[in-house]
């Protein structure tokens, strides 16, 4: 009985349905590897087996010895994984916050680019001989955040004042950002001129600006990339969680998202709330970009950014997979960057293409959209074995009758039962 009530908890079911999505996604990936392995002459069954193990345990890969894979704790991999999780957790938070307040932020890519531009510009253009590098870092971080907020507020305003769908506006601001970036860096004097590199912006460490390691380099000594960014991200995720669940501001934003009309009726400024939601979402994406590029060890290839950065869209996957819960996003972001690491191991140790991990992510995202279905299925499964318990999600309850007025009055029956 006790385990049953645990499984009947809404949160448990959400987590379980996500885990099931992930598992099915990984199995689908494994199957693809197997099929490709059997079809391609270069690969074969042995290589496929290697690939499958790397997909599942790539994070713990310690390389090869005499053609056999060795697994174990690998501080390089884990450190890299944490670093790569930074931007996508942030864009994930961006999408989640918008979603929780009734908006679909497909513009995280553009906001991310806006953040990138502002952060790099400030970090590279300010004279670190005059201003201390840590102050420059802070200015660049907040600059990126503000630029993202501004870029997010544009579709927010279009939605609030002109009732233009935020998805359309976001797509347009994405491409605007992509082109503005090119325009900003063209002839800015910030292009890296080392060696044969072209169209690359200096790393911020070139100007002495880099995110503090915060002791993580001691924890994962072999990782070049890991820094305090991940700690900042976790703190921000917790802040967003608190904002959404504990504060009056979160109450207003959510009320506005759930029903703009009744929020307005209750005196909440609906237009302000919509703009604010999008601005905060944009700030999160912008901050993600700032944290990624201010690490000091990442290069920005601006010419290629005539296309949009993938982080914005991966953010949607992070958010959906974590049911738009800010805390869950930390884990789903790390999971996706784990797959990223696994993908690079896959291409390193086998003949496979690392993009197979993208297929897996795609499958998982599709499935996470079905997570409600999986949840209902879980509900049924646990209901069957316990007749005393009956609970069907609200959706199933209302969709049939459609009219709120006509719902059976559960309480009335309950009261009579007591009497």
């Amino acid at each position: 009985m006790k385990t049953r009530s645990f499984f009947n908890k809404d949160g448990t079911k959400s987590v379980l349905s996500t885990l099931i999505s992930i598992l099915i996604g990984l199995i689908a990936g494994a199957l693809i590897i197997l099929i490709v392995g059997l079809v391609d002459d270069k690969l074969g069954l042995k290589e496929a087996w290697k690939g499958i193990r790397l997909i599942f345990f790539g994070l713990f890969s310690k390389g090869q010895q005499a053609g056999r894979l060795v697994f174990g704790f690998n501080s390089t991999n884990i450190g890299d994984m944490l670093f790569r999780a930074v931007p996508i957790i942030m864009t994930g938070l961006s999408v989640s916050l918008a979603y929780k307040t009734g908006l679909f932020n497909i513009g995280a890519s553009g906001q991310y680019l806006a953040g990138t531009t502002a952060a790099l510009f400030i970090a590279l253009k300010m004279n670190t001989a005059v201003v201390a590098p840590w102050i420059v870092w802070i200015l660049a971080f907040f600059g990126g955040m503000l630029a993202g907020a501004f870029w997010g507020a544009i579709p927010g305003m279009l939605k609030a004042f002109l009732n233009i769908n935020e998805v359309l506006a976001c797509i347009m601001t994405n491409w605007l950002a992509a082109n503005i970036v090119t325009w900003v860096f063209e002839g800015s004097g910030l292009q890296c001129t080392e060696g044969t590199k072209t169209q690359v912006i200096w790393k911020t460490s070139h100007n002495g600006v880099a995110t503090a390691k915060m002791g993580l380099d001691k924890l994962f000594p072999e990782s070049q990339q890991v820094d305090g960014g991940i700690i900042v991200v976790i703190l921000i995720a917790i802040l967003i969680y608190i904002l959404l669940t504990k504060t009056t501001l979160g109450f207003e934003l959510k009320a506005c998202g759930a029903n703009r009309h009744s929020a307005r009726y209750a005196g909440i400024k609906d237009k302000r709330s919509i703009v604010l939601s999008m601005a905060i979402a944009g700030a999160l994406a912008g901050a993600g970009a700032a944290l990624y590029y201010l690490s000091g060890s990442t290069e920005f290839h601006w010419q290629t950014y005539l296309s949009l950065p993938g982080e914005g869209f991966t953010g949607i996957a992070v958010a959906l997979l974590g049911a738009c819960n800010p805390i869950a996003n930390i884990f789903t972001g790390m999971f996706l960057s784990t797959l990223d690491v696994a993908g690079s191991k896959l291409s390193f140790f086998t003949e496979y293409n690392e993009y197979i991990t993208d297929v897996i992510i795609a499958v998982i995202v599709y499935l996470s959209a079905f997570s409600l279905l999986i949840k209902t299925w879980l509900t049924k499964k646990f209901k069957k074995s316990d007749d005393g318990f009956r609970k069907i999600p609200d959706v199933a309850y209302t969709s049939k009758s459609g009219q709120g007025d006509k719902l059976p009055n559960a309480a009335a029956a309950g009261k009579e039962g007591n009497a």
Binding site: K246, T247, T248, L249, F251, K254, A255, A258, N259, H261, S262, A263, R264, Y265, A266, G267, I268, K269, R390, K391, I392, D394, Y397, T398, K400, S401, G404, D405, K406, L407, P408, N409, A410, A411, A412, A413, G414, K415, E416
Partner: protein, 520 residues
Amino acid sequence: MEQASAGAYPYVIEMLHITKEFPGIKANDDITLQLKRGEIHALLGENGAGKSTLMSVLFGLYQPEQGEIRKDGKVVRIKDPNDATALNIGMVHQHFKLIEVFSVLDNIILGAEDTKLGFLQKKEARKKVKALSEKYGLRIDMDAKVEDITVGMQQRVEILKMLYRDNDILIFDEPTAVLTPQEIEELMQIMRNLKAEGKSILFISHKLNEIMEVSDRVTVLRKGRCVGTVDTSSTTKEKLSEMMVGRPVQLVVEKGEAHPSDVVLKIEGLSVPSKIHKNDAVRNVSLEVRKGEIVCIAGIDGNGQTEFVHALTGLEKASAGRITLCGKDITHASIRKRSLTGMSHIPEDRHKHGMVLDFTLEQNLVLQRYFEPQFQNHGFIKFNAVREYADKLIERFDVRSGQGPVTKARSMSGGNQQKAIVARELDRNMPLVVAVQPTRGLDVGAIEYIHSQLVAQRDEGKAVLLVSLELEEVMNLSDRILVMYEGEIVGELDPKKTTTQELGLYMAGAKRQDKEAKAE
């Protein structure tokens, strides 16, 4: 029961021992309903009593766990609405299912068109509809577009739709909710005509007057159970309402003399533009509401009441005029400012404005006050205070829900949603209460409760501005009646001196007082 030949068998539809369960509740518990051939059978019950569920079972939308349905004594299985149609069961829904831009005739034949080689054969159809409309006294204009005809005529179109399909079991789901008194009178006559032609009618309602007037027998449901079936001629309104609610109900609001004093709300020359047409929806409306009186704005739906209230509460902008509340000019104030200056608002549309349906009950109960220091500290919500407050309101206003304060508002019954809104608004203790159709769709028990609350507010010295489409409510509750017709106040009436008929004439625009007479 013995199976008899179809002609002689007295019951055309029988629903025997129907049990339908939803998670956590038996919506129908062993209900038996027998519809005689050629009778008008009323189905009476509070919201959530199981009327709609029972009809959905009959219409094939739900499958019952137990029980059976018989047509002419034969057991039938109704798996979906198509099966119901095949059995000649027709239904007029509360909200009409008509295509606005189609003509009346097209709407009637839609779905049952006669065609020849793929071409519509409207001539035959026109003849048949004409014959039917004459036979039953259903006046319609076959070539008018539905969007141009009155609600009453739309309803007649719905009835003709059923007749055109040769349905002989007709279900009317709360058919009078949208009609004027004159139209209701006409509908009653139509129902009698239908009965005279041998049709059997199931009439869902919670309006006792109509049931007493038109029905032959009444089946009363309460909380999913069948309380009993009685002959209308051998019962009274009081008995029926007691059966329905389970205790004696005060049908007429008990209220003493009004003692109006200071003016709380003063509106001068208010005009509000329409969203639909170019003219103003509200034209030059002036009125006053004083402490200790209930002023009611009566009128047929769509005569500017909604726009008027929206302009008053700040949801829409007025194009001209001045609104003064408690001595402060709030013509251009924000919604929050108005509400804090002293206005409670029980909105017309409880789903669009009144509640955030995806929020919990307790969140909805603090929707107007979450920002008060009582419920927040530096922007952090005090969850304990919210819970305590919600518990208090739920207790005091008897709001019933599945899981108490954490119930999702969406899963609550309409009556309890409304009670929650009333609780939230009245507990704010504001000098002006604007109540728009506060009892729409509610049953007598809930209506009695809300009416007594509004009277209590008046007696506490609040000013109450009531907007209602229900004549009975207007006559019972108000101390002064203002009739709104096409955006104007066309008359001020004293409920003690006027009649329902006279009020109806004002509402239909057939009568109006000139400005001088109104000013007395």
